[in-house]
């Protein structure tokens, strides 16, 4: 595949790529909304389901592979490759076209084009992630596109907000799940070999529970997490799909009862709910003057929804899972982070205006210090922590409604 082929692909075939992603996203969304409370089996079959629904002839998988390959080539072909500049330009034009409808009102096309040109590495990373996600949901998660993203992140110093960060968060859950399954299998092997009924696992072997601190809790709100699109250079479809990937991996992990400590700052939860509802109501053509009132009235339905999503996500019987609301003061300075035993990820994308390259991986010393910091939250007195797991919708409403009300009182709430 030379630079000319790349140029041709970015000029003409890219539309099918976004359309394909969109159809995958729709099917995954359908699976999520239809999965039963204990829908582990459905989640395990999700790749087969998506394939059967959107890619019966295998052409979509071939298109994704081709697109992923093209993006990899674009990155790996040398600067002196003839025609490589034209290929990059075609890629940038395609990127501008892809976000055009969503951003045209906010910015003039020339400015947008300049911005894409300046941040084209970011766009490339997001596109590579999107290609990986497409392949993943079709059951062929090839490592190469994501490997390239990580390579780029190493070079530029972080991951762009959006698809990349959510994909990485999903990966932490995924790695943790695979690790726990492997450890359990190994333990059984050892016991079988030694003919033991039980074998106390040495601490060195054991996977520690996942520690999560989140300002946009996927485990409570599913896809209601809207975000400002001002700064985004890639279509919303791929961000949604990445969030679905993170949600899927989280559920695959938690549904099996593996250990997790899920902390949500209470104020962030209230704000997220309030802003999500605001955007939703404005989109539904409710007059801006009535929006705040409508949000206040939506307390019951919101509590019920949180209850249902938590039921779908967590495994209440496991005894190793916590979902807790915290006072912001207790976690002051800590970014959104998901911490596994070996690796973790943080993101500064906690507010509505996303920063560029706002996330990165956490390793080794930093990881252990973050883990220590989050583990200290276990010792907080009960009046500063609210447990959400196992609560009824009414109890949830009692907890959440004041938080939403507080967000509504913010001065700039209705400022778009």
């Amino acid at each position: 595949m030379n630079a000319k082929d790349l140029e041709r692909l970015f000029e003409s075939d890219i539309w099918t790529f976004w359309a394909d992603l969109d159809s995958i996203d729709r099917h995954v969304s359908w699976v999520f909304s239809n999965a039963a409370d204990t829908g582990l089996a459905q989640l395990c079959e999700i790749q087969a389901g998506v394939r059967a629904a959107v890619d019966q002839d295998g052409k979509m998988a071939a298109r994704f592979t081709g697109f992923a390959e093209a993006l990899l080539r674009l990155r790996r072909l040398g600067d002196r490759e003839p025609g490589i500049d034209a290929a990059w330009e075609a890629f940038e034009r395609a990127a501008v076209r892809a976000i055009g409808p969503e951003r045209q009102d906010a910015a003039d096309p020339a400015r947008l084009s300049r911005e894409v040109k300046r941040r084209c590495v970011e766009v490339l990373m997001e596109d590579l992630t999107a290609a990986w996600l497409g392949l993943y949901f079709l059951g062929i998660p090839m490592a190469q596109p994501w490997d390239c993203v990580r390579e780029l992140a190493y070079e530029v110093g972080g991951y762009p907000s959006g698809a990349c960060i959510y994909k990485y968060i999903g990966d932490i859950y995924r790695t943790a799940r695979q690790q726990v399954v492997r450890e359990r299998g190994e333990l059984k092997d050892v016991m079988a070999a030694q003919k033991l009924a039980s074998f106390p696992t040495p601490d060195a072997w054991k996977a520690q529970p996942l520690l999560v601190l989140t300002y946009r809790p996927l485990g409570l709100l599913e896809d209601d997490i809207a975000r400002s699109r001002d700064k985004q250079l890639t279509p919303e479809t791929m961000h949604r799909l990445a969030r679905r990937y993170a949600t899927l991996q989280m559920r695959l992990y938690t549904k099996q009862g593996f250990g997790i400590r899920y902390y949500v700052p209470d104020r962030a939860l209230g704000r997220t709910i309030a802003y999500a509802l605001r955007d939703q109501y404005l989109a539904d053509d409710i007059p801006p003057g009535n929006v705040i009132e409508a949000i206040r009235d939506a307390g019951d339905s919101m509590a019920l929804k949180i209850h249902l999503v938590m039921k779908k996500t967590f495994n209440e019987e496991s005894g190793t899972q916590w979902v807790k609301l915290l006072k912001p003061v207790d976690i002051a300075g800590l970014p959104v982070c998901v911490l596994g035993s070996k690796t973790g990820v943080y993101s500064l994308d906690g507010t509505h205006t996303a920063l560029h390259f706002a996330g990165n991986l956490i390793r080794d010393e930093l990881l252990s210090s973050y883990r220590d910091k989050l583990s200290e939250l276990n010792g907080l007195p009960e009046d500063r922590v609210d447990d959400l797991l196992g609560k009824s919708p009414r109890q949830i409403k009692e907890l959440v409604a004041p938080l939403v009300a507080k967000a509504l009182d913010e001065k700039d709430f209705m400022k778009l």
Binding site: M1, A41, T65, E69, I140, Q178, D189, P202
Partner: protein, 600 residues
């Protein structure tokens, strides 16, 4: 005593001592043999002389040419018997001594008939003299019939001379080498200093004459070689003298010259080979490059040895997964993997055996593409075959890794060590490093003919700090790349999943037998079978046992069965009760959709 070339040798190496000893021995033996032969020649001349004296027809009293001969002191009775027994008897030593003494009486050495032929025919010769002349002439033209003992004697001498000359040049080479080694002899420095002393220079000794161009001709190698050669010519001299009338002397001398030249050439060639080996060793030591002709075997042996010895970590970028030749030799077994495990218990050169020995963490990184071929669309047959070989090697390694893992788990409860860490990651690795504990290899090239050029980067660094810095840098590189990459199991399952779709397998097809074969064919099994391979060649009949080297001849069905066995074992491991990522899929027969077990 040590070998030259390692920088620490003394003057006397074992080889030099042996060669010099052999040289001196052969020199003595040749001298003894040739002198002995010369004495025999004298005895014969004496016998001839006596016969001349007794011949009635010769009319010796009247002959004018003879009196000088008669005056000469007759030689002593020869001890040489002319029989095989006496040829090797100690008594012949007397003959040699006698021959040596006879050189001091040159009058005796001149054979009478030669003198006769050399002298002008007297103008007034009598009839008897004429007859004698004719008789002598005939005698000198016709050769006597050779006896067996005589022939053996001459053969022996020629063999000894040849051996002497060959050894001469080998010894000269070795001597030159020892001479060239700096500060080897306790007295050589003193000697050199003496030669260079200003006092000696003032003497304007002849060796100071040649100047720069001439010095090349009088360089140490040439002088040493000439001295050795000249010395080796000396003992041959009596033989040449004694043989001068046996046959055509020119031919004889030419033969001797030919042997001499051949010996010199042989010495030169041996010298070249040794020099080349020495230089290669020096280069290997300096650069740390494994440069053997069959480099890969050498490198693999070395690397496997290091794997076995490793204590801490093995981090490597692998561009090509070798498959043990022993695996292909298990072709005829019913349970192929069991057969391979049994072989591995005995054979130390197998990967399984090597990894079973090591306690180190093993992490490989490999860079494999999304699909075969450089151009999307239709990859060529060769590309598909290569791709399949890569995947096959990868899967084979994964199976071996899992076997090591299982074996290590069994004795784990006692040790309480964490389980064995053996991983393969798929990631883009621009470099090609191999780090085993503190040894860093850089693979420079891997040829298609099973050769490899590998540089041991840490070899040339003596500073321990720099060495460990390099080792850390290389390891960090590999580990960084590995951390980025995806699990190899996931990659293989993705490929199988993708190939299953292309092979029109349904999600509910059972993942064994024919369905698996169809998937493998989509992955390129058929192309791989059609291409010439480095691991095994296709034959009409299986020829597993007779081949000793890496090439094993397998029939196509057997080869296909072996490839399938690799994937079957891999799937069996991944779907086994304690390994399957989705527990619910363990008991059911594995179907195509269960490939999601690793890809989910």
């Amino acid at each position: 005593m040590q070998r030259h070339g390692d920088g620490k040798s003394g003057f006397w190496t074992t080889k030099l001592a042996q060669l010099m000893g052999l040289y001196v021995l052969l020199l003595l033996f040749t001298s003894f043999s040739t002198l002995n032969y010369y004495e025999h020649y004298l005895a014969k001349a004496w016998a001839h002389y006596q016969q001349e004296q007794l011949t009635p027809a010769s009319g010796a009293p009247e002959c004018q040419a003879k009196p000088t001969k008669a005056d000469a002191r007759p030689p002593e009775t020869p001890t040489f018997g002319g029989t095989l027994g006496t040829l090797f008897s100690m008594g012949s030593w007397d003959g040699a001594l006698h021959a040596l003494r006879s050189f001091r009486a040159p009058a005796l050495t001149a054979p009478p008939h030669q003198e006769a032929t050399g002298q002008p025919f007297p103008a007034r010769a009598c009839e008897a003299e004429r007859q004698e002349f004719i008789y002598d002439l005939l005698n000198s033209r016709l050769h006597e019939k050779q006896s067996l003992a005589h022939s053996i004697l001459k053969i022996r001498i020629v063999v000894v001379i040849s051996a002497l000359w060959f050894v001469t040049f080998l010894a000269a080479n070795e001597f030159t080498r020892a001479w060239a080694t700096p500060a080897t002899l306790p007295w050589s420095a003193r000697l050199a200093g003496m030669l260079r002393s200003p006092g000696l220079k003032r003497l304007r000794l002849p060796w100071a004459w040649p100047g720069r161009a001439g010095r090349r001709f009088f360089s140490a190698p040439v002088v040493i070689k000439s001295l050795f050669g000249l010395l080796a010519l000396v003992p041959v001299w009596p033989f040449v003298l004694a043989m001068h009338e046996e046959y055509e002397p020119t031919v004889f001398v030419m033969a001797l010259v030919a042997i001499f030249v051949a010996a010199e050439h042989y010495g030169g060639l041996t010298e070249n080979v040794e020099t080349l080996e020495e230089k290669t060793t020096a280069l290997q030591n300096r650069l740390g490059v494994v440069l053997n002709a069959d480099g890969l075997n050498e490198w693999r042996t070395e690397v496997y040895h290091l794997y076995g010895e490793a204590r801490d970590r093995i981090d490597a970028v692998i561009r090509f997964f070798d498959i043990d030749p022993q695996w292909w030799k298990c072709a005829l077994a019913k349970e192929k993997w069991q057969a391979y495990e049994e072989v591995s218990e005995k054979e130390t050169t197998t990967l399984l055996h090597t990894l079973n020995r090591t306690r180190a963490k093993v992490q490989f990184v490999t860079d494999l593409p999304l699909r075969p071929g450089a151009v999307p669309g239709q990859p060529t047959s060769i590309e598909q075959a290569e791709f399949f070989r890569h995947v096959l090697g990868l899967v084979w390694h994964l199976v071996v890794f899992e076997k090591v893992h299982e074996a290590r788990l069994k004795d784990l409860a006692a040790t309480k060590d964490p389980p064995a860490y053996l991983r393969i990651k798929i990631a883009h690795a621009p470099f090609w490093m191999h780090v085993v504990d503190d040894t860093v290899y850089q693979v420079i090239e891997r040829g298609t003919a099973g050769n490899a050029t590998v540089r041991k980067l840490s070899e040339s660094i003596t500073d321990p700090i720099a060495r460990s810095a390099l080792e850390r840098w290389a390891r960090d590189n590999v580990r960084t790349v590995a951390r980025r990459g995806g699990r190899a199991e996931e990659y293989v399952f993705s490929l199988l999943r993708s190939a299953a779709r292309q092979a029109h397998c349904q999600d509910d097809d059972i993942l064994t037998g024919r369905a698996l074969l169809r998937i493998l064919v989509r992955l390129g099994l058929g192309h791989y079978m059609r291409q010439p391979k480095e691991d095994f060649l296709l034959a009409t009949h299986d020829d597993v046992d007779r081949r000793m080297n890496r090439t094993v001849l397998l029939s196509r069905p057997t080869a296909v069965a072996l490839c399938k066995a690799v994937f079957e074992e891999f799937l069996r491991q991944r779907f086994s009760e304690n390994r399957c990522q989705v527990g619910a899929w363990v008991l059911a027969p594995q179907r195509v959709r269960h490939l999601a077990g690793e890809t989910l």
